[in-house]
Subunit: 153 residues, 2 copies
Amino acid sequence: MKRSLQETFAPHNACFGCGQANEKGLQIKSMVEGEHVIADWQPQRHHEAFPGILNGGIIGSLLDCHSNWSAAYFLMQQSNAKTPPCTVTAYFNVTLKRPTPSKEPVHLVATVKEIKEDRALISAKLFSQGKLCATCEGLFVAVKEGHPAFHRW
Amino acid sequence: MKRSLQETFAPHNACFGCGQANEKGLQIKSMVEGEHVIADWQPQRHHEAFPGILNGGIIGSLLDCHSNWSAAYFLMQQSNAKTPPCTVTAYFNVTLKRPTPSKEPVHLVATVKEIKEDRALISAKLFSQGKLCATCEGLFVAVKEGHPAFHRW
């Protein structure tokens, strides 16, 4: 896969975390790599908690949107569909292991822990310069027609 | 209390979620109200997940920073200090109960569930137009001298 999931399936999406069309957003690009979904992302100054260190809320935003797209991808793969279902977050639990530097890019890695017909439990990790800085476990659910997110991508 | 905790104790802080000096940040203002710490915050267009609905990562950012300031306040109160200790997030667990409208302000309410000498477990809720949209439980720890966050406010 050479293009990200977002660029491939939702190029006009304006979500704060993953919308490629949101100029003020994080614009994460999640790439499939075997059994993992990965992303690299460079923080900017206004994403910091204090000088040199990335804010935990931004870390949560990155992990939430990256995990949500990972869930959408794994659900698409499971059902042999051509496009991913529109998924939303049920919950996400973020643990901050150590301060995350803001100068270097962060590296995200997500895997599927459990999958059912309409939902996936995703485990994700955030690294900086090879060190594990944060972890996340989240549940993401494919919505049905009638839900406001049904046409989100 | 007429001024927020952030304006009172950290007017020059530039944190993405709670820094009053971060023009591109969320600039939340947490106010003490009896046994609670509350905040009201108006989303902007680029904070959305999709049209009309607030992004879950932003919801997590609001709850994380608001809870962190609540912990700092309760720890200050417990020790009869004049200024709050610098606290950081150990973990925060966010549950999204229903889509959160982005047009109206959101209302945050935090309370302390458990407090020790150097840490507080905070429970927080996010409401929109009186409806509970998200909940958060997080652990926030006062850092010691030598930690990069020791002088964050």
